[in-house]
Amino acid sequence: MDLQFFDQERIVAASSTGCVTVFLHHPNNQTLSVSQQWTAAHYHTGPGSPSCGSAPCTGVVCSNPEIVTVGEDGRINLFRADHKEAVRTIDNADSSTLHAVTFLRTPEILTVNSIGQLKIWDFRKQGNEPSQILSLTGDRVPLHCVDRHPNQQHVVATGGQDGMLSIWDVRQGTMPVSLLKAHEAEMWEVHFHPSNPDHLFTCSEDGSLWHWDASTDVPEKSSLFNQGGRNSTFLSHSISNQAGVHQSLISSWLSTDPAKDRIEITSLLPSRTLSVNSLDVLGPCLVCGTDSEAIYVTRQLFS
């Protein structure tokens, strides 16, 4: 259900059988072999669940040498490569399903769950309580994906079941900085571009993949991103006041000035498809996969 590169050769895969596997890629003959596996990483232990009831592992995130996984059983596991058992397990971290996880700083992770909460966990602390909980006070919309800004460790983007994109500043309060109405159905993945963090990509059950460009450069740059899809400008709808923060450190995602705050949104897929389930982006390349068993690749994202 989730995949991530661990290092140059190894890939970690999270499966719906509750098993977490590390695959080793052999470039000479283009094969994959299993390098390590934790088979019962996620499981149910309720009064009515069968004794070998496995739970799907919904999200995985790596930061060499650590691997953190979360699952439908509300459990968080911390693994280390080449260790047979989990280094740390937080049982019943959440009473609902944990959908995604990301690292904030190395000992801290952030998870999102299906009652619309972001929880920050610090592995240095003992105990099974999160160090912080953030959520929207309105409808408890489940959150499905999360990604942290590559350079600013306090800025996080989440996508929800109603297709809303929210930008959060975890240092400030418990409310999101901005809420942007995006897709018409569940947003499955959100990614900041690793080297151009002013660009954000989201994909959704409604079959679209959007490129959000918040770079506050000259306006004509926007035409370069028109790849045949819908092109609309959007004013971000801010909630909290950022007056206290030093202007020069402000990321374009957090700024609240409506006049400067124009985000270009472009749809990257040429026609409506079935749900786009997953995407990844690196440099000028973007890859995404859909429910019609097709994989789309573009190697000229910014051309």
């Binding site: 309720g46 439908e72 009473s95 609902s96 059950e205 019609s292």
Partner: protein, 648 residues
């Protein structure tokens, strides 16, 4: 009728039982014996699932299903825009798209067949390739006859293309011969030239002949004459403005000239050249001599038409087709299913084509998509089948139902049901509830599909199943979020009762993160509201906001949303507040509390059995006594406080 052997089951000794499912059949042995022997040997303990349609699980055919789904949906969507002249062109384009998908699949399967290490598997793939090839052949012919609706003249050109597309050895042979040092001395030289002539590729045949002329000067003269005949054969080229009658006339002249050359024995010294001339005259005997090169009767038909009736009209096709088939088979063998299908197509009997294809093929894919396309060409009369839907809809329903048997191709099936106006929605409602939901993500996709189509019943039932699973697995937060999605108040009540039960047993709340943050979802059910408010009461007490806590507690008791079983706990919770140094409850409030207490005490069930219940009753009675005492004391203090000057 096909016999399938099921391993492990002994149908001779035991009776079998079976049950039909949507796309599968369950079979198992029963413990009844067929003969009256007292067998004590245990039978086969397994239940077998027999699937009719194995194509759905083929790795390569999956691409066919996925791609054709995209084409199908695209066709339904542009239906409204298809008008006038461009309509035919658009439909032909759609047909070509389908065919290119089939060819791509064929290519891939062919590669796999060649690369297969196990010869049995290789053979299996090869037979699949030939089935796909036959499908493409039939589709192509249907495209020419039914969609393109080529008129006389153009019809032959299309048919020629059709034949050339399906005989691919020619190109490799051509490359072979041309690549050799001395082409005209190659073993297969004359074979190649003959095939080229049979396929109407006269320019290339002429080139070959010129090589022969260069190589052997003795036959140069004859080659030149034959080459000239080839060059001057009148053909209808697209864009040519000559009418059919003009073409006929010119062709007659040319035919007579060829005849004359034959009569004059111009080519007598070279049997090869003479037979070529006879072929070009459309001589049936000469053509039949080339049976091996022709390979099948439809090639024979097209060649025959090319050289004897190039301006054949579509309605006359079937006569020539039937006779070609008879001549080619020559009574040695009987026609195969493919031959019958092609004949039916030549007779413009669409229903027969579809019927025969349905019988011959193992999967509904081909007939469903072809019928749908032909329906868009407005070629199918609304031929109602006895159970109410028409043929197109019936085939699409069958195909889509087959897709639902697969664990992930069911998403394609949804779109097919959408475009079946009569029974599509009902079928979808039935199928979608039965998809096994192994992960939440899959469940969310199913729910999204149901919500988009306003299938509220299905949404509710699926959410209930998921919520029940979550409760069983002790994931109360998930259970609550599912009942919120389905707006299922009854289930929310159930989940809240679980929480309250846990509290009663353990004395503390589990999953505080959920209860503390219920938000507006609290309003979904009374019990849930109670839970949220009760937790709020605890929070107030923890933060020492005692007056707020007190009024909240009172409102909880008086608003009747607390379940009866919880009243004791609420009353006991009032105790610490009553014992506080400061007076927390006002006189009014104390009177209310007393009323509630008496209300509760009077309605308590009386235990009749002695023993444990007696002890419990005693404990409760003690608590209630303490409460009464505390209430009385508080009342006193409250009255004093309110009565004195600073109090009011």
């Amino acid at each position: 009728m096909r016999e399938v052997l099921i391993p492990g089951v002994n149908s001779k000794k035991k009776q079998m039982c079976f049950d039909w499912g949507p796309g599968e059949m369950l079979v198992c042995e029963t413990s009844f014996n067929k003969k009256e022997e007292s067998e004590t040997k245990p039978g086969c303990p397994f239940i077998y699932i027999i699937r009719k349609d194995i194509d759905v699980y083929s790795q390569i055919l999956r691409k066919l299903f996925n791609e054709s789904h995209g084409i199908f949906v695209g066709l339904q969507r542009i239906e409204e825009e298809l008008t006038g002249k461009s309509r035919k062109a658009q439909l032909v384009r759609v047909s070509k798209n389908y065919r290119s998908v089939i060819r791509a699949c064929m290519e891939e399967m062919h590669q796999v067949a060649i690369a297969a290490k196990d010869p049995a598997i290789g053979r299996q793939f090869s037979s699949q390739v030939s089935i796909l090839s036959a499908m493409e052949l039939i589709w192509n012919l249907c495209e020419i006859l039914f969609i393109e609706v080529a008129p006389a003249g153009a019809l032959l050109l299309h048919l020629l293309d059709w034949v050339r597309l399906h005989v691919c050895e020619v190109d490799s042979l051509l490359a072979d011969v041309l690549g050799s040092e001395n082409p005209s001395k190659h073993d297969s030289f004359w074979k190649l030239v003959t095939i080229l002539v049979l396929q109407g590729r006269l320019d290339e045949a002429r080139q070959m002949l010129s090589k022969e002329a260069d190589a052997s000067p003795s036959s140069a003269g004859m080659c030149r004459i034959l080459g000239d005949l080839m060059r001057t054969m009148p053909v209808l080229s697209p864009g040519n403005t000559q009418t059919l009658t003009e073409l006929e006339l010119k062709w007659q002249h040319w035919h007579e000239e060829c005849e004359r050359h034959l009569q004059d024995s111009t080519f007598a010294s070279s049997p090869h050249l003479e037979s070529l001339c006879k072929i070009m005259l459309g001589d049936e005997a000469a053509l039949l001599e080339q049976k091996e090169l022709l390979n099948n009767w439809y090639h024979f038909l097209v060649t025959r038409l090319l050289y004897s009736h190039p301006t054949v009209k579509p309605i006359d096709l079937h006569l020539y087709a039937q006779s070609s088939l008879d001549l080619f088979l020559g009574g040695e063998s009987s026609p195969e299913p493919l031959d019958n299908i092609l004949l039916a197509a030549f007779e413009f009997d669409i229903h027969q084509v579809i019927k025969e294809c349905s019988i011959a093929l193992s999967n509904w894919w081909f007939v469903a998509h072809l019928t749908d396309l032909l329906d868009h060409c407005k070629l199918l009369q609304s031929h109602n089948l006895y159970f109410g839907s028409n043929m197109r809809e019936f085939l699409l329903l069958e195909y889509a139902s087959g897709l639902f048997a697969h664990h992930s191709l069911w998403q394609l099936g949804v779109d097919y049901f959408d475009y079946c106006p009569e029974l599509g929605r009902v079928s979808l409602e039935l199928h979608i509830e039965r998809i096994p939901l192994s992960t939440e993500q899959k469940a969310l996709k199913v729910l999204r599909i149901c919500e988009q189509r306003q299938m509220t019943e299905q949404v509710r039932s699926i959410c209930k199943i998921l919520a029940m699973n979550a409760v069983r697995n002790n994931r109360l937060g998930s259970a609550l979020s599912w009942s919120i999605r389905a707006k299922d108040a009854a289930f929310a009540t159930l989940v809240s009762d679980r929480f309250l039960k846990d509290y009663c047993e353990r004395g503390s709340f589990s999953d505080l993160d959920l209860i503390d943050n219920l938000g507006p979802a609290m309003m979904l059910s009374d019990r849930l509201t109670f839970l949220g408010k009760y937790r709020e009461f605890h929070r107030f007490y923890g933060e020492k906001r005692l007056t707020d806590a007190a009024s909240l507690l009172l409102s909880l008791m008086t608003s009747q949303i607390a379940p009866r079983s919880f009243w004791v706990i609420l009353l006991i919770d009032a105790l610490p507040l009553l014992e506080e140094k400061e007076v927390v409850f006002s006189a009014e409030q104390t009177y209310e509390l007393m009323r509630c207490l008496e209300d509760f005490a009077s309605r308590r069930p009386v235990w009749r059995e002695p023993g444990v219940q007696r002890i419990q009753e005693d404990v409760e009675n003690t608590k209630l006594e303490m409460l009464r005492l505390a209430l009385a004391r508080n009342l006193g203090r409250a009255i004093i406080k309110e009565g004195s000057l600073e109090g009011s």
